[in-house]
């Protein structure tokens, strides 16, 4: 393909040694994850560090559930950016919108795979979750709103937003022309079509915002509705999940935008204005999350029941303190970096990238803190305390999923432009 006279934009179809190396590394991770999952399928969840709470002294939920929440959280990014571009007309975010949408779709797929890794009967789960779905269960929302509805809405949005580029790509002679034609599905980017597309995208974006709030809240309610589980039962779980999802998602977007800016030349690369907007959004959400955490701690400390207070002490000063303080410490550093930039008005991309990575460390640590301590130490009956140490199988499956995500994005980059294609000179003629 590289020998062709016409080169497709943004390296589509061009296989480079660097890309191959990345694909190789991602595929190796996927292989490791697949091997670990095979062990789990053969021997059962006995190969994980999970055990029953109570007399068995373990935690029935652990790394898998933490990463279901994490992956769903990351998905916040793409669709939010896309929706904001349409609703608030933030055109300088446009270059990163497709990368963000891909991130949303990929992370939701990874969340669904994490659910399957966690289920004791995954194949039965795929059938029974549809066949016997009970809306009364908070899980129902997770499977329908998040994994199905949210993913479906994101895919529709992604498909519609990509039709223009598919049409432009179909103008080039390439082995994937049939694919671009199929995607464009007759779309020819005429002014009327463009206008209709804008209108559709606007309403879709407007519909996606409430869906986004509901989906992330639903995941929070999986924990927040558990009255008999100290540390979980809280009205702040749902809004806390929405905000933390925003933080981890935007953190990812900052990193991706920086990579795009680094890899692509002007004028298409993401402008500084986009970074400023992302940095400010991250700063505001970070401050809201700190506020939520303080309110939660004050409520527990002042009026929490005995078990709640014991658990809070354990998290703040004892067994789980390292996780909590790593989480809050990274968030504090990120907020500090962002605040300095916001106040001085000088934004630095490396510092923003550091903040983006740090808030994702926060997100993982906080998810573990939400899921595990309430199970190992949150018993209302006087069972001894439990413990949970993930095994290599759990770690490998999660690493494999991350490899799978990277692989999906890398492959996508070679079949479709990762950024919206600028108006080509020949396009007008074809449109005629």
């Amino acid at each position: 393909m590289s020998g062709r006279a016409i080169t497709l934009p943004y390296g589509v179809g061009r296989i480079t040694p660097g890309w191959l190396a990345l694909v190789g590394a991602a595929a190796a991770l996927v292989g490791l994850g697949a091997f670990a999952y095979a062990q789990q399928e053969i021997h059962g969840h006995i190969v994980t560090g999970l055990r029953d709470w109570g007399s068995m002294g373990g935690a029935p939920w652990g790394l898998y559930v933490s990463f279901i929440v994490y992956f769903v959280g990351v998905s916040f990014a793409g669709i939010t950016v896309a929706a904001f571009i349409r609703l608030l007309r933030l055109d300088y975010l446009r270059p990163i919108s497709r990368a963000a949408e891909i991130l949303t779709i990929v992370s939701l797929i990874l969340a669904a795979f994490s659910v399957l890794a966690d289920l004791g009967q995954p194949w039965r789960g795929i059938v029974n979750l549809f066949r016997y779905a009970r809306p009364q269960s908070p899980f129902f929302g997770t499977f329908t709103m998040v994994i199905a509805g949210y993913l479906f809405a994101s895919l529709v949005y992604f498909y519609l937003a990509g039709r223009r580029d598919a049409y432009l790509m179909a103008q080039h002679d390439s082995p994937l022309r049939w694919f671009y034609r199929m995607w464009a599905a007759g779309y020819r980017d005429t002014p009327q079509e463009r206008e209709r597309h804008q209108r559709t995208s606007f309403w879709l974006a407007l519909g996606i915002i409430p869906l986004l709030i509901i989906a992330h809240s639903t995941l929070g309610l999986v924990f927040g509705l558990m009255g008999g589980r100290p540390g979980w039962f809280s009205a702040l779980q749902a809004p806390g999940f929405v905000v933390l999802a925003g933080i981890s998602g935007i953190g990812h977007i900052v990193v991706i935008a920086a990579l795009l800016r680094w890899a692509l030349g002007t004028p298409e690369r993401p402008a500084m204005a986009a970074f400023r907007w992302l940095g400010l959004a991250l700063l505001v959400l970070g401050l809201i999350y700190v506020y939520f955490t303080l309110v939660e701690m004050m409520t527990t400390g002042y009026a929490g029941r005995e078990h709640e207070q014991e658990l809070a002490k354990l998290i703040l000063t004892s067994y789980y303190a390292p996780y909590f303080w790593v989480g809050m410490g990274t968030l504090a550093v990120a907020i500090g970096l962002l605040a300095v930039q916001a106040l001085s008005g000088r934004w630095s991309i490396p510092l923003l990238v550091v903040s983006g990575v740090l808030v994702n460390v926060t997100a993982v640590a906080k998810r573990l803190i939400i899921v595990v301590p309430s199970l190992t130490h949150g018993s209302l009956l006087p069972y001894g305390t439990g413990m949970y140490i993930p095994t290599w199988v759990e770690g490998s499956i999660i690493a494999g999923l991350m490899g799978l995500g990277a692989l999906m994005i890398l492959l996508f980059m070679k079949i479709f432009p990762i950024m919206e294609v600028p108006e080509p000179s020949g396009a007008e003629e074809v449109r005629g």
Binding site: R51, P60, R124, Y132, F140, M226, P382
Partner: protein, 248 residues
């Protein structure tokens, strides 16, 4: 339709844990799974130390958190009050386990047959005597479908990756027998019967003895009533816990 309930007389219990053993044999539960668990508590300081015992079966709650959260209706409450698990519908998400404040749910981390006590296949000496028969005994009643729903709910040794818990020995109750823990207690700590029948043992005990229910403040409305005792205070210490199976 009866309304089944259980009473547990704490003043009688001597902590022998015969009920735990009876439950394991009756239901073929794997190593480390205690559908019936007996707490041994120590309270206060020497020389005023007091030891007392609290058996903990599933509480078969009327407002069962496990039933509410099950995403596929595998955990359900029968009309007669038994809270059961449909082993063929359960997807193994363990939400019931985290929602239950009593810690009565046990997940099959590996195939139940591979997790019985005395793994005959691993011990050459035992194997020589048993010819590799494993598990040594399987209760045939657990493979029968019970109730109007005809769902697979009895016993434990069915599938890997599903949840299990006390069924009030549904397979015995359906035959008019008492649950195994009730029948095997040497000092008649337990009574099992119909709350709507004023002459049943449970109704009589509840009329004549002071009683409480575990974690009543959680609003779960348990069907297990504890007689002649008090709920465990935050100061009790569990002694001699049975932790078997943590790594099995």
């Amino acid at each position: 339709m009866p309304r089944y309930a259980m009473t547990i007389d704490l003043s009688r219990c001597m902590g022998c844990r015969a009920c735990m053993v009876a439950c394991k044999v009756e239901n073929n539960t794997p190593e480390g799974h205690f559908w019936m668990y007996v707490f041994r508590f120590e309270e206060d300081e020497f020389p005023r130390t007091r030891i007392w015992f609290l058996p903990r079966p599933c509480q078969h709650c009327d407002n069962a958190p496990c039933v509410k959260v099950c995403p596929v209706g595998a955990r359900y409450k029968r009309e007669d009050g038994l809270v059961l698990t449909d082993f063929q519908r359960c997807i193994g998400c363990r939400y019931c386990e985290v929602a239950c404040p009593y810690g009565v749910n046990y997940f099959h981390w590996k195939h139940p047959n591979k997790a019985q006590y005395l793994d005959y296949n691993d011990d050459p000496e035992v194997r020589e005597r048993t010819g590799g028969a494993m598990p040594p005994y399987r209760n045939p009643d657990q493979d029968v479908r019970y109730g109007q729903e005809r769902r697979l709910t009895a016993g434990s040794a069915h599938y890997r990756g599903v949840i299990g818990k006390c069924t009030f020995c549904v397979h015995r109750v359906e035959k008019g027998l008492e649950p195994a823990c009730v029948a095997n207690c040497p000092v008649r700590v337990f009574e099992f019967g119909d709350l709507d029948d004023p002459d049943s043992a449970v109704s009589q005990k509840l009329r004549s003895s002071p009683h409480f229910r575990l974690l009543e403040e959680e609003g779960t409305e348990p069907r297990v009533f504890y007689l002649n005792g008090t709920p465990p205070s935050p100061d009790v210490r569990e002694v001699m816990p049975v932790k078997g199976g943590r790594r099995s």
